[in-house]
Structure formats: C-alpha cells, structure tokens
Amino acid sequence: MSYTPHTERDRTEMLRTIGVETLEDLFASVPPKFRLEAPLNLPEPMDELTLVRHLEEVAGLNKSTSDWSCFLGAGIYDHFVPAIVDALASRGEFATAYTPYQPELSQGMLQAMYEFQTLICMLTGMEMANASMYDAATAMAEAALMLVEVSGRRRVAVSRAVHPHYRQVVRTYLTASDVEYVEIPCDEGVTDNIRLKDATETPAACLVIQQPNFLGCVEDVDAMQRMCESSGARTVVCADPVSLALLTPPGKYGVDVVVGEGQPLGSPLSFGGPLLGFFAFKSEFLRKFPGRIVGRTRDTQGRRGFTMTLRTREQDIRREKATSNICTNEALLALSAAIHLAALGPSGMRSVAELSLQKAHYAARHFSEVPGVRMLFSKPFFKEFALRLDTRRSVHDVCRYLADHHILAGYPLDTAYPEWPNTLLVCVTEKRSKAEIDDYAHCLRAAMEGTK
C-alpha cells in the first residue's frame, strides 16, 4: 500500500521511455554502499480497516475532554467551536493546497488570508497583521528579535507573568542571537511596575508582557506602555484573543506589536498543536515584520484580486538578509480562526468572553470558600485564577484526586514558579456548566479534607 497508481504495464512503459531497465537503475547516482539492502525496521503495513481500529485504540488510551471536565488553561483553551468551522476549513480545496504562490489559482485562500489579517487588526486594534506564525511563543520571539533589529538595542525585557513556555522559547531564540534576556518580576500577580522601571533604565529593545497574563490577572498595559515610551523601549503584548472582546485592545495604547495564540479561535485542544500564532504591528514595521502578508490589488482587467505582497522581506528572495526564516506557517488554522470570528461575530465573541468571566469568578468565589483554599492574588482576573492550597499533601495529589473524578483540575504553578508551591492555576471557559463547577468545588473540598 503506498497510494501509487502504477500498474506493472505503466512501469514497463515508463521505464522504456526513460531508457532504463529497472526502477533500481533510476537510483544510479546513489552510491551503492548507501543503498539499503534490508527493508527499514518499521512495523508492517496496515490496511485501512485495521489501521482505523488501531488508531481508535491508541486514541482511546487518552482521557479526553469529551468525557472529562477541563479546568486546564495555561495557554490552550477549551472554548466552544461551532460546527461550521471544521465543516468549511476541512474542504479539500483549502486543506490540500500549497502556499498561494500562483494567485490566479489561489484566490480563495488569498482572500481568506486578507480577511484573517483584517479580523486580527479589528480584534487587536492594530494597523496591520501578517498571515500567521507557528504559535504565540515563536511569534513573541520573532517580535522581540524584530524590535532588537529595529532599535539596535540588544536587550529584551520580559515580564515573569508571561507564559513560562513562551519565556523559554524567547530565551532560546535570543540566546541563538546573543541578545540579552532580562525578566521583570511580578508583584501580586501582575508585572511589577517599579522593577520594570529599574529594568528599562538600561536601554532595552522592548518589553514583553501578556494580557491577561499567565497568572490570569489583567495587566495595566496603558501604564507600562507609557513607561516604555519614556525609556524608548518598544512594547510587545501577547493577548488572549478571547479577552479582546472585553478589554480595551492593546492597539489603543500605542503598543508596537501584538502577538498571541489563535488556538482559542476555532481550533481544538489538539494536545497543544498545531497552533496559530498571530502577529499584528504598527505600519512603521512594514519592511521589518516576519512572515507572509496578503495584499489587495487589481488584475489586467481591473478586477480586484489578492496576492502575497511585501515579499522582498522574505527568505526565498532575501535569503540570509530576510526578516525571518519562516516559510510554511499556519494558514489552515488562520482560516479556521477567520471562520470562527465570522460565525461568532461581535455578539458571540462578547458572549464567550463574558460567560468565561462570569463563570471563572463564580468558580473562584466557590473554590476559595473551601477550607484551606484561598486566592493567591487579589488583582482583577479574566478567565483564569491561581489558588493556594493549604495542605500537607501536594497540589499534585489534589489534582490526582480530582482526576479520579474525571476533572482536569488545573495547572500546578510550582512547575514553572518554584516561589509558589502548592498553587493551582484554574481556567473556566464558557463551556463549563454550573454543575461542573459545583462538582469541582465539591471534590476539592473532599480532597482538602482528605489531606488534612
């Protein structure tokens, strides 16, 4: 089985046309010593029926949120996705196309990307947006590197309230470019303004913050933006796109770059991948930003058409002088995000945000009533909040107890923040029902009692 359509006769005729005897002959340029004698050490082939069964079995080894209550967030969110998203994005015309290098044959995807860019601008309040990045983490790293390039300053300040994985990725990227990485501590769950001030006294290319931040709290983007402006540092805000239906968009404050994770817009949890980085920026960076962008123009008959543009920044033209090395990005997830945003519209997006807000606060009130449980921070939060569990047994034990009740309890913060042992980051989206939240509270109470 290899999806090759060749019959014996096809092969014979084709080999004759080519002028060789055997398939083997075609590989004459591969030195014989490198030609495998034995087959690869891989499992034997499976037919479709057998494979489907096997895959169902493998998938069945996972506990999915189809059956379990998900209170895990921390970067990947269990938001509602309407049926039309996959019904449309999965169409073969989109899914089995390459990057739209030939615009005459790719107007569908090109128009969809132009619309995606517009939607991201609308959501973030920014002037321009590219056609996607791998994920939020790499979008953030690329934003920082772009601003290093623009500013000539080889120092990047990142709030400790930024997603720990994203910080790690930024660090990986900066290390490779020998750019200095400094971390701004948090205070009460938000970026510490005073330490920020100190840190930006040494000239930094940019400050990177997250809104709402990893700990769930709402940052004062306005204040930090003004502080950075006075020190000449640029700003990168990593925004939860769902929160943007509720919060003043970063663009309003004059932020330089807004990046973020687009997964909550129409993509499932997918064990964390593929993801969708979005990247919105001030138009002053239009020769500097990474990745693809689609523009509107006219054809020879004056009809509107779409094409990839500003291509001279890109690797295939500029090679080592390109603004980034990115090539294949996340077009199909961008398409899903566009469909999702169109399907929800302003009222749906606002509902999702408000429901998440209300339910998260309801949950926070109830969970923190459980003896031994209290809120770690007192700052305003959106859909995630951190709990401190006052218990002799570890928070991991508590999580395990809830897992026995088919609840994914949250993300133990100590993994990334050793300064906060026995804390748990809990996420509540619009998909969690009151019953599920109450059940969590109930189990949490039992777990806390059992551990005293």
């Binding site: 002028g19 010593k33 996972n62 990057t99 030939q102 593929p274 509107r296 080592e320 009222s347 994914l408």
Partner: protein
Amino acid sequence: MSEPLLFEKSVLGRTAVHLPACDVPELPIDELLPGVSLRQELPLPELSELDIVRHYTRLSHHNYAIDLGFYPLGSCTMKYNPKLHERAARLPGFVNIHPLQPVETVQGALALIHAVETALAEIAGMDAATIQPAAGAHGELLSLMMIRKYHRSRGSSDRTTVLIPDSAHGTNPASAARCGFRVRSIPTDSHGLTNIGALRDALDETVAALMLTNPSTLGLFETNVAEICELVHGAGGLVYCDGANMNAIVGIARPGDMGFDVMHFNLHKTFSTPHGGGGPGCGAIAVKECLEPFLPAPRVCRIAESRFELDTDRPGSVGRIHSFYGAFLVAVRAYAYIRTLGPEGLRDVAEHAVLNANYVRARLQAYYEVPYPSLCMHEVVLSASRQKQRSGVRALDISKRLMDYGFHPPTNYFPLIVPEALMIEPTETESKETLDAFCDAMIAIAHEAETDPDLVKSAPHTTVISRLDETAAVKQLDVRWADASS
C-alpha cells in the same frame, strides 16, 4: 464570479452562532474587573450562518488543490493526502486532549509521538528525533541552535560560519542568519553538484556546519556526499541535511548512513500531511547521538513497554522552541501514513516518485532545455531560456499558460542558479495518464511559444482573475480592509 469580502456582506445586528445563557449568578462586569479599561466597540463583521457557509464554499471554488488536479510544484511534494488521515486526526481522543493533562491521561498521545519519532530516526538513519519544529525552516533553526551549542559545549565559540550551496532553499541561509551565523555560499559545479573544490577552500576553523540539501533542489543526488561529509567533519564542522526532498530516497538510502549529523523532514511533504494552503506543517528533525543532548525539552520517553513520560530535565538542551510539543495532529497523520505504508510501501514511494520525475524529464527534454540532463531524482528542473531567447516567453508565462490547460504550474525561478527555472515534482501518487496529459500540455505550450507567443504571455485566460499588478500591491499597499465610510 468574484466573491465580496466578509466585511462587505456584514449587516448590523445579523448573527450566526448563539451562545448559551449564563447558568451561574452574574455580577456586573465592572465589579468583576474593577479599574480595568473595557472595550467599547468590537468591529467584527456580522453575518448569518448561511452567509458564512456560502462565502467559504465559494472561496473554496477559487482555490486549486491536490484534490482538484495535478500540482507539480517542485520542492513541495504535493502528493495525495489520504482522507483516512483526516478522519484519524478528528478522533476525540486525539483532538480533545490538553497538553498539560497529567501524563497518565495521555499515554496514547505520548505513545504515538514516540512511535513517530522512532520511525523518523530509523528512516533518517539517525539516533533520535523530535517532532517539535512547526515547519521545515523551524527544524533548520532548531538544528543550527543545537549545532551552535554543540560547538560551544566543546569550547569552540568561534565557529560562526555556515556553508550553504547556492542552489539551497532560501530558508537555509535565513535560518543560519537567524541563529547568528555568517553565511558563505558554495557554488554548484557543472554537473549540478556541490563544487568540492570550492567547499574545500571554504572549510576553515570558523565553519560550524555545512547545510546540504540531498537530493538537491536541482533534483540530483549528491553523489559525493560521503566525501563532502568527511571533509566537513575533518574541518571540525557538522553536516546538516535539508531533508525536504526525502521523498526521493525514503526507504532507499538514509542521510545518517551518508555521514549527516542532523536533518529535518517536512512531514507536510514526504509524509503526506496536507499543506493547508500554507501550513500547518511539521519540520521534525533527526540527529546523531552527539547532538541528542541538545534536543529541545520536553522529550517523550518510554519508561516501560507501554508507559511514557515527558522528560523536562534536559540540562544540555537548547531550550524550548514551541509552546508545547509541536504539531501533534500533524504527527497523527504522519503516523497513519507510516503505518499504512510500512517499510516496503515507503520504498515504493521513492521509487515511483523518481520514476515519475524521470518520465516527465524524458518526455519533455526535446522541448525544453534540461540544464543537468542526467537521470534525476524526484523532480526535474527545466529551463525556459530557449523559449525566452526565441520569443520572449518566460518561465512565468509558461506557468500561467499551464493554468489554462487545467494544471497547477511547477515552481518557477527556483533554484536561483537556473535561469528561467521550471521545477517539476510530480510525486508518486500521480498516474501515467496524468503525467502524459501534463507533458502534452507542456509540449503544446512550447509550440504556442513559437507560433503564438502573445497567447502565452497574456495567459491565464480561463481563471477567475488574470495576472495581478504586483507592483501596485506594494505601492498602494492594502493589507487589511477598511470601511470606505470610516
């Protein structure tokens, strides 16, 4: 018929999807978010569900795809993407799992990643692999970061040069630059292979690595690969294999056996995962033992026959390069592919990919110049320079004219070293009938270029739009819709 933009179809107050009512006691928003600045207006388009369905269904009809026809885009390996994989990648047990779930609850996912990584290492002839890079270029970047750290770990922080043949894909030099390396270009010799003399000259103690695409973007196998690797190793450098062209040799030969230290795969090429109009992809890399410690964290590891863990304790690692573990659902599709084909099936892929490319070459060589006329691997690079010289018909014109015959054009103007390049990669899933129809069209166009060059130069004539004004696209830059009235 052209399709209006979403925004042009928007009507105030129209809605598609509704959300449930709130089932918990509600508090005023400004009480929940005291002192937080709230958004006043959310300028998203407002449409009905039917509007949206029609919009995207119609747009889909304006998009060429493998599902519609032959797509011989060179270097892109546009093979059939099995529908079965789409079903597999939608199993709830794969789709609805969170990356931070306790590992006991995601043993299936970890087992699958482990199986894919193990298979890729075997196919590469390497010792370890990771699926974390999100695309080929990401795999290149990661590999270069690892190479950088490898050299530093051995005390040589002055290895700052990366050698790259002039036929290489643009991501190679761009990735090297992104990783702080100086790029030095190595010319191609008259047979289309790496110029060994030039390579020798370039090899000094600043060389961190050579990035070699094998088979090359000219569709040729680097016959001297063993010698090349020895030379680079001898100079203290490592050798990277851009494995975008693995479709030519999967199951036939292994980069690891040839002397490469690290390589990337494009699962969205060789392993048939759909390219999605520009992603998602997966640029998995495979490495030799010497580079294993530098692989990004976390790593999936098997701690018992059927028990897997996520190892985050990797002090040597270059760090994290993806928000989580890479494109898991892409890996699911690649897994399905590898399990469907098995060892013989994978070899079949390479044999027929190479057969198809050579068949096209054999049928077209009388009509188009073939700069490197030996047997090719999975793709053949033609040149339209003869047509250009005789009648001013360029590779671009031929490409556009192919659309009128119902085909997607080959890659053009790449590799850069071939003037008027037409880079044709048929892939193994195309039948002789399709190749014949394509060759007939190419021959007809070669004829048209002689007899009616304007017909070719003004092509395409049958597509929804004709050629676009790319200059205007830049000069009157319009990359987002803005309400004319606002």
